[in-house]
Amino acid sequence: MNVVPSQNLPSKSFEDGEEAIRFILEAARSAGATSADALFISGVEETVGVRKGEIEKVQAAQSRGIGIRVFAGTRQSSVATRDLSPDHLRTLVARAVAMAQHTAEDPYAGLPDRILPPAIDPAKLFPEESHSPSRDELVERALATEKAALSYDPRITNSEGAECSRSHSHIVFGNSLGFLHGYRKSSYALSCSVIATSGDQMERDYWYVTGPLWEKTSDAEGIGKKAASRTVRRLGARRIKTGSYPVIFDPETARSLIGHFAGAVSGSALYRNATYLKGREGTPVMNACMTLREDPFLPGAPGSRPFDGEGLPTRKKTLVDEGVLQTFLFDTYSARKLGRQSTANAVRSLGDGPGVGISNLIVVPGTSSLEDLMKKAGKGLLVTELIGFGVSTVTGDYSRGAFGYWFEDGAILHPVSEITLAGTLDEVYQNIVDRGSDLEIRSSINSPSLLVEGLRIAGD
């Protein structure tokens, strides 16, 4: 270990992440660890909620925590805490080293072979903020959003309210090889959920925006109206007959469909024998119209980061090129275990050591509008909501509850509820025959609408 111990030991809790990490790495060395790493996260959050024109809740949070992993040769253990006083940290690190004596020798365990500088200046990933809103501004924006939703249509009869929030976090990571870097990011969110009634039918829906700048939430009226229109259009839903139909996943549900793929291409799942994609590298795993990219440098996107959960520099990559699987995703451990190189896809949380995950995924969009996709499909279902957990990336089986709209000849005829979609992930991805032009970066997984041919729908 070659970390320089910090000079002035505070007797009170650490406020500064870098100082805390230096102290911990030194404490680990003293306690007999052969190597160690630590993640520090601190954050400030404020959330206001309004309902029916009144403030309903105000929440303020200030938190910080540290996650520590220690190695005794090729054995390891991890600890996490919210108590950042030096005495407690020293005791906890010693306990971690003692625990590590009892875990199994694992020849693949350990820090990355070497350290490299972060891939990009964090300032380029997270835009500079010109304005940080007060609590009153959060309240005002939430009120304006809900008001627009409630006055949108007389069938909007009730509200679950609107919420506006800001959060600012500081992430610092260091290891005993000498890596010590951090970055700060902010996130603002505005959401609204309302209820529409018709006869004895009641439906709820919502809309939200989130982004790294306060300006992202500026269209309060638009968000309220969108929440309301999404809710009202659900009224009058009925079931359809059981059968196989073309299905269009809208961008929100397509995101969830592509999310399962991100789980199946994990190197951890691969060495555990726990993915249906095992042995499929270099072969078609999606329809030839599909290209999937990972981009950790998308400015302001929620998954953007200059280094991964083990401090390795992140990089862009193509996961699926015209349907063909280019690579699995690896952290250091899964790569070593399979004789591969890390793809800088380690993700790390306070409570757990590194695992494999993605930064930002993007499905390359096509040129068709939603109407074009509906016309191409003839008649079928446009899915706008999926619920339940009936997806296994081990077997590839896929079965979920759905809500959507029945369309014919390019036009929506009526809403559809209480149905399920089922197939296998492999079939579903292979049968994506077209994708829309409606890509929007709203999350860490982003997709345009996707048209899937012949999916089993259970209904009447």
């Binding site: 009144e54 309903e56 938190s63 108590d83 625990m99 009730n158 089986d397 089922a422």
Partner: protein, 478 residues
């Protein structure tokens, strides 16, 4: 064992008196209906095995104080992770800004902490009392037993996690309650392979009980046998039919049906706001006369049980549906006050960092009069579902789903073959009206449930006898 009454006094950086004097400055306006401080210290430990090696072991210390002020429908909430009187007073001051009016009212009083009236969980023989090699040995045993069960087992992943939570709830009505709450959870998950066919099986168990019982040799053997059996059954599974058909649910964990289909819809917050499909329906028929459903937080040692809820209210047995008639909702203090009733001891929170909401504890359908074998024999064509993964509900439209992890296709009362996992979807307000038979064999789940609501996770339990439900939609591929 530490004296839990003194637990936080020892941790708050100074005396009760100095905390008291710090709090005295935070005078509550008269518009405040309720206020509380929730002190929490939780120690967690976890171990996991995969590839035949116990590679991961860890500890997690979580501590903080949540401050909450309630005024009418408004809630102000803030928390601190430092047990200092200054920080606690600051959190309370921040939460207080929700309430209107000058701060001329009463200060928050600290009285001598008291223990809950009932005691549902042990305070000795906890997992923390065992040396680390014992706990690692348990996972090594699980790995070995599973591989011995069948040569088709290609992967065993198992985990052991437990927590020791100490809480002190200080309420503005002068009540102070302390409790120490243990929780243990084990899980075994195996992958069996035959050619290119790869299937999973799993078994989980645990609760707020003594550690010796949870990890007895018999319990470990049973868990491994079950997990492997399920994976082998799934290797034989054929595609599941799709469409509307009659379904028999096995006893125990399939009770997740109750949790999703009606439990969430009966939580006080949704009903106070009129956003639940069950709003305003007390006294109406919502289920077949065969159905009586309770929520019971007082079952000793169960995962969903608590001596007191997270507002210090003793837990109770609440009748939700009696012979098919809707009788009651699940309440915390705020929603009960606004609906003119009493808390049912269902005010729960994930941690000091989360506000209280009405939540379920153990949600159970009481046994009926049918022989379970007759229930299955009555099925002309349909699905017999004995185990499930997770579920989800839209409480406004009432639509709910849950996914089967072990199920069989049945014709003329005979099991023909296992079917692949599929989602079931139904409509909460009417699914229980379609319950045709209720078995005598009520059993509680093995202690695996975690319920998510508004981003907060809390442990829960369910219980169900074998029941037959007509006309559920089965999301198969055939």
């Amino acid at each position: 064992m530490p004296d839990i009454v003194r637990f936080f006094e020892d941790r708050v950086e100074s005396t009760t008196e100095s905390l008291q004097s710090a709090l005295a400055h935070v005078a509550l306006p008269s518009t405040v209906d309720d206020a509380d401080l929730y002190f929490e210290h939780t120690l967690r430990e976890h171990y996991s095995v995969e590839d035949g090696m116990v590679k991961k072991a860890g500890q997690d210390v979580s501590q903080g104080v949540g401050a909450r002020i309630v005024s009418g429908e408004r809630t102000g909430f803030a928390f601190t992770e430092e047990f200092s009187p200054r920080q606690i007073a600051q959190a309370l001051e921040s939460a207080r800004r929700i309430a209107q009016g000058p701060g001329s009212g009463r200060p928050l009083a600290l009285s001598r902490p008291g223990r809950p009236q009932h005691n549902l969980y042990p305070t000795t023989d906890l997992a923390f009392d065992r040396p680390v090699p014992d706990k690692i040995g348990i996972l090594e045993t699980i790995d070995r037993l599973c591989r011995q069960e069948s040569s088709k087992v290609v992967q065993v992943m198992a985990s052991l996690a437990f927590e020791d939570k100490t809480v002190q709830i200080v309420r503005s009505d002068g009540q102070v309650v302390v409790d120490r709450i243990p929780l243990t959870r084990l899980n075994v998950s195996v992958i069996a392979q035959e050619g290119s066919n790869r299937q999973t099986g799993s078994y989980g168990w645990g609760g707020r009980t003594d550690f010796s019982g949870i990890v007895s040799p018999e319990r470990l053997a049973q868990a491994c046998r079950e997990a492997v059996r399920q994976a082998l059954v799934n290797l034989e599974a054929r595609p599941c039919p799709s469409g509307t058909m009659d379904v028999v649910l096995g006893p125990g964990w399939p009770g997740i049906l109750l949790h999703e289909a009606i439990g969430h819809g009966l939580e006080g917050d949704f009903n106070r706001k009129g956003t639940s499909a069950f709003s305003g329906r007390i006294g109406q028929r919502v289920a077949s006369p065969l159905c009586t459903i309770i929520d019971d937080g007082t079952l000793p040692g169960r995962r969903g049980s608590l001596n007191v809820d997270d507002e210090g209210t003793p837990t109770q047995r609440t009748v939700l549906i009696e012979n098919g008639i809707l009788r009651g909702y699940l309440q915390d203090r705020q929603n009960a006050r606004l609906m003119g009733t009493h808390s049912t001891g269902n005010g729960r929170r994930e941690s000091y960092a989360h506000p209280v909401m009405p939540r379920m504890t153990n949600t159970v359908m009481l046994p009926g009069e049918s022989d379970p074998a007759e229930v299955l024999a009555s099925l002309d064509r349909g699905i017999y579902a004995v185990n499930f993964g997770g579920g989800q509900v839209d409480i406004t439209s009432g639509k709910f789903v849950f996914s089967m992890s072990e199920a069989y296709y049945v014709e003329k009362g005979k099991i023909l073959h296992p079917v692949k996992g599929a989602t079931l979807i139904g409509n909460g307000p009417d699914v229980l009206t379609k319950v045709r038979m209720v078995g005598t064999d009520m059993s509680l789940d093995t202690g695996v449930g975690t319920c998510g609501k508004d981003g907060q996770s809390v442990p829960v339990g369910v219980g169900l006898p074998t029941i037959r439900v007509d006309a559920l939609t089965v999301g198969g591929t055939n």
